[in-house]
Amino acid sequence: MSEIVSFVAIAWATVLLILCAAAVVKLRSTAARVLAFDTLTIITVCLLAIYSASEGVPYYMDAALILALLAFVGTLAAARYYAERRVL
């Protein structure tokens, strides 16, 4: 991708990250907070992917992969604990 688009995309994704983090802090319902945190990790995965492609370094994709995996497990555990007060 071109230089200017990768710069603008990284800045844009950072603004989205800040907005989503503000939503995690500000929202009053617990389920909406879990949802906002899930979206936060998806945005982080996208940011790492854009950065990896713009730098040409494949190692950031490993971090994105592990982050996607752990965010799924975390969301599942948080939702289950919120509903049933137990994880397993």
């Binding site: 040409g56 599942l76 289950r80």
Partner: protein, 96 residues
């Protein structure tokens, strides 16, 4: 090729922005889920496709792995949150 990946990245970021706006603007958890779960996936897929096009072979392989993982796990996570909200609907009304 460069133009294609640029367009895909801008489209994906627009879809992600719609998802974040849905979190902020929707009044209800169900509506937030409805807005976000589709928009986030629709934003992540074009961005990962663009990185697969623009990067090398290693980046493309890992982007494909992340795409499959997100496609499999995002609906399950959304369903878990929806089930949690539905189960606790009568327990604490203010949490809706």
């Amino acid at each position: 090729m460069t133009l294609l990946s640029d367009i895909l990245i801008v489209f994906g970021l627009l879809a992600l922005s719609v998802g974040v706006y849905g979190i902020v603007a929707m009044p209800d958890v169900y509506l937030k889920l409805h807005a976000t779960s589709k928009a986030a996936l629709l934003g992540a897929m074009p961005i990962l496709l663009a990185t697969a096009i623009g990067g090398g072979a290693a980046i493309a392989a890992k982007a494909a792995m992340i795409s499959v993982l997100l496609l499999l796990t995002t609906p399950i996570a959304t369903h878990a949150i929806t089930k949690a909200v539905a189960l606790t609907e009568n327990r604490d009304k203010r949490d809706l």
